[in-house]
């Protein structure tokens, strides 16, 4: 299963990006650059919709953490919504739920 990224909303108030597929080493390079460009060009809170994400590997979490730090530096927040229970468990186990969920 490949990985797709879609911008659902992008204005001065909010950036909402929806991911679908697997965020793993194979698929990540196809969206990583574009994702970071979107985050860095935006000066607003960010919401990532994970309702269609089936798997999250450590490289994917690393990408999310970098984005989290960039957004936090601008004084905003980055949150993940609609993640599956399995993905929530990964965030919990890694101690990241406090930051990302």
């Amino acid at each position: 299963m490949s990985l797709a990224m879609q911008v659902l909303q992008s204005d001065e108030h909010l950036l909402i990006i929806a991911f679908s597929g697997k965020l793993d080493a194979l698929n990540l390079p196809s969206v990583e650059t574009k994702f970071h460009a979107l985050i860095n060009n935006q000066n607003s809170p960010v919401i990532l919709d994970f309702s269609e994400v089936s798997f999250l590997a450590s490289l994917g979490i690393r990408m999310l953490l970098t984005a989290y730090k960039d957004v936090a530096r601008q004084g905003h927040s980055l949150k993940i919504e609609n993640a599956s229970d399995e993905i929530k468990k990964v965030f919990l186990t890694a101690g990241l739920s406090e930051f990302l969920i």
Partner: protein, 536 residues
């Protein structure tokens, strides 16, 4: 038949003696020789002497090549030092030939008699004396073998069929050359084949030119032998085998060219170059063999730099070799403790960077990433860790200010926790690899693997950036989570009731190892955070 039988017996004694000398001397001097080579890193003279005596003792430069290769790949010897050892080991092998040329018939008889008396009087009681007498017995058998061949071969030359066969083969340079090469491949030492050829020549069975051609063949045989061995080697180890191959080949080519020109321009087609050194044909062969070792030593020493570049280009160090060697630890930097401490810290971060690779092997990403063998990673980590420990021990011996002394202790503490973290990670991956049933694809295991990778990656970023905010975040990621993990594990077991007991046990162990891994990562973060705060 009696003559052939006696020659055959002589050859047998010669090879048995040769084997006994090599085997027993190796045992007698093996450890000492290795220690000597290790010490021969300082001066060129010591390197040359070590090489020379190894050649004399083992009667084969291969032993020196293989030992020096091992030290070179472990970076105990540089390529240049190893090359000196090999050059002189080759020269050392020619000494046997000079000894054989001497007329020591009576000496051999007394020697054999003396060895026999030792056995009769049972003087070889200890292990070491047994090895020593076996070595001496080997020497006596080797010389006795040569004596048998010489004695039996004298009447051989008067037999008409043998003279005809010799005349027929004397015209075939290629045949003699191949015979020298093939015998060297079989005997594993060119000097021994040269001695046999020399013995046959001394009783008139081979003329001087034929003997010279056989000696040239031994050079090619030796080169072939070592290159054959090098096929199994990689990286730095292979470089010295290639050097030995180059040494032997260049020796043969140069001598062949010189002999060709010498014979060509000589008025009566007699060798003039070696005859200037000795009138005795046997000694001429010994000189030829020695020159065949001296010339490449001279040429390759002159062309040392391009040769080193060539060898490094042909067989560059493997990724494992690079991984197992410290990149930043510099001996001269020990003079400046602050720089040395910084370099030790850089090396520790390099070690930390290796750790996520342990988890790639068991992660879902394993199909897309290059995976290094777990045991190789473990060995490399241990080798670099040892180098850091030794480096810090040297550093702490310097007279230092109290604050710097404290920083070194903190770095040593960091090293010790890092080592525990590595052991824990090694166990974590081993648990997955050796579990009763495969657990690598179970969601619970994947969750632990990916979470640990994330925390490790975050730790590496924080340590490299030395970012206080990042460290605070890392402390939260590594906060105590034993209860949480037990809850997730129990929940998983309840939802998957068909799980085998062995699998449940493996997942339980994995949870504990994960928890300990987080705790150790928290410890390294706290040590580093403390060091940063105190330095500010």
């Amino acid at each position: 038949m009696e003559i052939i039988g006696t020659i055959f017996c002589g050859l047998g004694l010669f090879f048995i003696g040769f084997r006994m000398i090599s085997r027993n001397l190796r045992q007698l001097t093996g450890t000492r020789f290795k220690k000597l080579i290790q010490k021969a890193t300082g001066t060129r003279l010591l390197s040359a002497l070590t090489g020379f005596f190894s050649g004399v003792i083992f009667q084969s430069a291969s032993a020196a090549v293989f030992i020096a290769s091992g030290f070179h790949s472990a970076r105990l010897l540089t390529l240049r030092q190893s090359m000196i050892i090999i050059n002189w080991a080759n020269i050392g092998t020619s000494m046997l030939i000079f000894i054989v040329v001497l007329n020591i018939k009576l000496l051999i008889f007394y020697f054999v008699g003396l060895i026999g008396m030792v056995y009769f009087l049972q003087l070889d009681r200890t292990n070491r004396s047994q090895m020593m007498f076996l070595f001496l017995q080997g020497v006596s058998m080797l010389f006795l073998g040569i004596f048998f061949i010489k004695t039996a071969a004298v009447p051989l030359q008067s037999l008409p069929w043998f003279r005809e066969a010799l005349q027929m083969s004397s015209g075939s340079v290629l045949l003699l050359f191949l015979a020298g090469g093939l015998l060297t491949v079989a005997a594993q030492a060119g000097s021994t084949v040269t001695v046999v050829a020399l013995t046959l020549s001394s009783v008139g069975l081979l003329n001087l030119l034929q003997t010279f051609i056989i000696v040239l063949g031994t050079g090619v045989g030796s080169a072939f032998n070592i290159l054959l061995f090098s096929l199994k080697m990689r990286g730095s180890e292979k470089q010295l085998c290639l050097y030995q191959g180059l040494f032997k080949t260049s020796g043969v080519i140069t001598i062949a060219l010189l002999l060709f020109l010498d014979y060509r321009w000589s008025p009566n087609h007699q060798p003039r170059l070696v005859s200037m050194l000795s009138a005795n044909p046997g000694k001429q062969v010994a000189w030829l063999f020695l020159i065949m070792q001296l010339l490449p030593t001279f040429m390759l020493t002159l062309m040392r730099k391009p040769v080193i570049i060539l060898l490094q280009r042909i067989s560059s160090p493997t990724s494992d070799e690079k991984l197992s060697q410290a990149e930043f630890l510099s001996e001269p930097a020990l003079q400046d403790p602050e720089t040395a401490l910084y370099l030790a810290w850089k090396e520790q971060i390099r070690l930390l960077r290796i750790l996520p690779d342990y988890l790639v092997r068991v992660s879902p990403d394993r199909d897309y990433k290059k995976v290094t063998d777990l045991n190789v990673l473990h060995d490399c980590f241990e080798m670099v860790d040892q180098q850091i420990t030794q480096y810090l021990e040297k550093l702490v011996k310097n007279p230092l200010a109290a604050s710097l002394q404290e920083q070194i202790h903190q770095t040593q503490h960091f090293s010790s926790v890092l080592k525990d973290l590595e052991s824990n990670l090694f166990e974590f991956v081993t648990t997955i690899n050796t579990s009763f049933e495969t657990i690598v694809n179970l969601p619970f295991a994947i969750n632990l693997i990916e979470s640990l990778r994330t925390i490790l990656d975050t730790a590496i970023d924080c340590m490299e950036d030395q970012d206080p905010a990042g460290m605070e975040m890392l402390l939260k990621l590594t906060a105590e989570k034993g209860d949480l993990l037990q809850r997730i594990r129990k929940d998983y077991f309840q939802k998957n009731t068909s799980l085998d007991l062995g699998v449940q046990q493996s997942l339980f162990s994995l949870t504990l190892q994960f928890d300990r891994g987080c705790w150790l990562l928290r410890s390294v973060t706290l040590i580093r955070q403390k060091a940063l705060t105190e330095n500010q």
